[in-house]
Amino acid sequence: MLLIHCPYCEDDRPELEFANAGQAHVVRPSHMSEMSDEDFEGMFFIRDNPKGVNLERWRHIHGCGRFFNAVRHTVTDKFLKVYRAGEPRPTDAELAELLK
């Protein structure tokens, strides 16, 4: 069972309290109805499946209830960083730094 740091509760909590909510930073455009079929496919259906650093959403569903983002390494399962919903995606340089 993972131990996940919730950026809202500011505490490490057991994985049981959380639900994974898929890939992070998938932008829902404000004018969705004008999207091309290809763009919609990319936005809704296509997901990264990296071996290594993964940016993903979690919800502290049986805790504070908040959605937040996490940088997790899919090989080691290590959480490299958690940050609140709405905060920007870490830059590639920041991700590289986290991996060190």
Partner: protein, 981 residues
Amino acid sequence: MTRIPARGSRLGTKTISFTFDGKTYEGIEGDTLASALIANGVHLMGRSFKYHRPRGAIAAGAEEPNALVNVFRDSARRQPNVRATVQEIYDGLKAESQNRFPSLAFDVGAVNNLMSPALVAGFYYKTFKWPAKAWDHVYEPFIRRAAGLGEAPTEEDPDHYANRYAHCDVVVIGGGPAGLMAAKCAADKGNSVIVCDENAAFGGWLLSDTDLRVDGMSGAEWAAAMVAELQANDNVRMLNRTTGFGYFQQNMVGLTERITDHVSRPAPDLPRERMWQVRAGRVIIAQGAIERHMVFPGNDLPGVMLAGAAQTFLNKFGVPVGERIGVYTACDTAYAAAFDLYEVGCEIPVIVDHRTEVDAQILKQAEDLGIEVIKGGHISEVTGRLRIGGIVVKSGADTEREWDVDALIMSAGWTPSLHLSSQSRAKPVWDETRGIFLPGESPQACICIGGCNGTDELADVFAQAAESVGGKAPKCKIEDDVSTSGGMSGATGDSLQKGKAFVDYQNDVTAKDIALAVREGMHSIEHVKRYTTNGMATDQGKLSNMHGLAIAADLLDKPIPQVGLTTFRAPYTPTTFGGFVGHTKGSLFDPRRKTPIHDWAAENGAEFEPVSLWDRAWYFPRRGETMHEAVDRECRTVRETAGIFDASTLGKIEVAGPDAAAFMNIMYTNGWDKLKPGRAKYGIMCREDGFIYDDGVVGKLAADRFHVTTTTGGAPRVLNHMEDYLQTEFPHMRVWLTSTTEQWATIAVQGPRAREIIKPLVKGVNLNSESLSHMSVSECEICGVPARLFRISFTGELGFEINVAADYGRSVWEAVWARAEPLGACVYGTEAMHVLRAEKGFIIVGQDTDGTVTPHDAGLSWAIAKSKPDFVGKRGLQRPDLVKAGRRQLVGLKTSDPKKVLQEGAQIVANPDQPIPMDMLGFVTSSYWSGTLKHSIAMALIEGGFDRMGEKLYVPMEDETIEVEVTGSVFYDPNGDKVND
């Protein structure tokens, strides 16, 4: 056979009687089943898996591959595959050998041993290839019969099991010298410590070694003192009979504590096992090392065992394993075992050492005792049938000598236990000089110490233990510590060519099998493992992995690390399902949710059905009524008079805040701006892909407040879905969501006399259609308590839904019933509710939709607000596949034979005479007998269904083909006049 009581560090004084294969034996308190049987001269304890060869205990602990028995208290408490070396005896213990028929000494399955050329490695792959049908009828039943070890009980397990989450600074797995010292040092620094050991007593190897002295105490005395000190510390929890079976993420370890398996008459309150899920700041792994056997022909005869096991049987249980004991070794520790046995009067006719060079001091010791040592020799043959009788030893150039023995002890050296370390994702590191894998550095906060770290000298072990917890070991005076130097892996002599030299006892894999696998092209250890099944039995290759690897590496002429090491997986030793289940059974398997009105329904004869986690009243049979009759009556009564229904399980969400309507516009396909406070509306929720996700009636209580209802099963996911959009896509919106499902008890009153029933109970609103028309909501008082009264209908009749705070639910229900009953109204359950709604063509999300149905497909295009710039699903609904012709659409079906009720899920075709597989046009989603309409009704999803009105289609069933006509889905009161009465 005599006991040597002076040697039994674990023995009590009480005599204990038990049975094995129906025969009664006596053992002594503290004995394991294996030690007690050997004390009674019984070495034959089981038959092997494939060849049904006679087998005895090879080991004395958890790694035992052979001595698997069935232990039972009664017909339900019957545990197969129990290792006799682990099971402690208790008064009245009943054990049976396994895998033999009719008896252990004479087993007809042993004919497999003669057929063994046909059962070599890869035999499953070679034999059971074709034809496919033979799998069901021939191969699988055969394999199941032949390959099973024990037999699982068929009755429900009457025992209970406990679960405990625990947190500590340091958890120590293994309570031998390393573990005890680490626990002491950690505790001395003020840490909270949990230390566990799989055995009944802490001390590990110290309990089997009589030479060693620590500060003048014997190993057993030192361990006892240490245990007493730790037990006196409030910060330390000592768990004996507790196996650390798995290492999970972020220093979580799973421990399974066996509480009653060693007790004659367990207190009924005690759980049989307790599962500990421990999250530790630091994990100290002190699992020790496991001795390897020698690989030579006949190395599985009862009486052949590990030297360390023989030493344990002697020193822990006072049981010498034979009278005339041969020794076959490649490691120094076997000498210590031999000397111990010699000391208590056993004859040691010969020590065969596979090595050509042996430590001079040890040789001198043997010589002093008059024990002959043959260096560079190997055992080429053993004699005996159910017990070893002699050995044939080859050494030098073809000299062959024979000895009579009644036991043979062996050691090929010690394998550090890397299981938990490896599960923590540390990569094992190959130590070329010692020929062993050592634990690598773990990415988690864990450290291996002692035997599992390959550490030999006790002084080093203590220093390492202290260092692992950042503490300091007390100074100890250590005398007569035995060296574990030496060791080898692989086959000896010509056992790759001749005889059966077992590498894996439990799966009956021989050295020849490994060689065959390599010859047939298996070049990685993972392939060799799967082809031969080496290391795949319940002992997970604790003894065999290194030998298999060494043989393969040798034949491939590659260094061992290049052939690879197979992965260690949890659990370390077999763990009961009961332990994993823990409390989660019976009433605790899942919460069974009940409404505030549930007890009334139960008292009034309701039958219940499970709906998600809820128990819902299904129907209310009166005396002598069948379900069909009851449902018919309930439907008829609602249509003719009225019925009341417990709708409390409906999900409810309060959506409040100045942006509530704007948010509803995003989440539902409908428009919410124009809805006036006091009005209600049927809403559809889609996912982004345009498919229906949920539905329900929504009441607008005020400009900034909605009472949203969801399906019973959909409530949690709908709230999650809404929170997701609110928090991450529209965080600027001022709107808040609160689940109120359980705040309200919901009572539906439906039927022509519904108004009459509730009227006297309601205060604050006029119930006539002018002030409370169909699809409205009012905050009023019912029975003197605040209520939200909806005028809505899921039946097609005049209808109301009363919401009152749940603690008043039953009282209000009873008040309504007191009004309804004298008028001839009824209570109805979910089945009648389903029929009534189907007669009106109302869908049930999840029954008439399956996650691939759009509102258009369901005939609900009217519920989509086309002018809204955005809602979840708007873009999805424009996808090419969702707008193209020929989609499955929800229509009604009438059977040509009105009495025929279709089966839900049945497939529908245009031409029933076409060859199989037929072209399926769709399937039946809902189907009922309509007593009101006097014919069966159904809903179905059918390709291009809306354009098929009046068409005849067919439902092919196993024994008949049913003709149906496609119709609209509203069967009853198509103009909807009744709801407006």
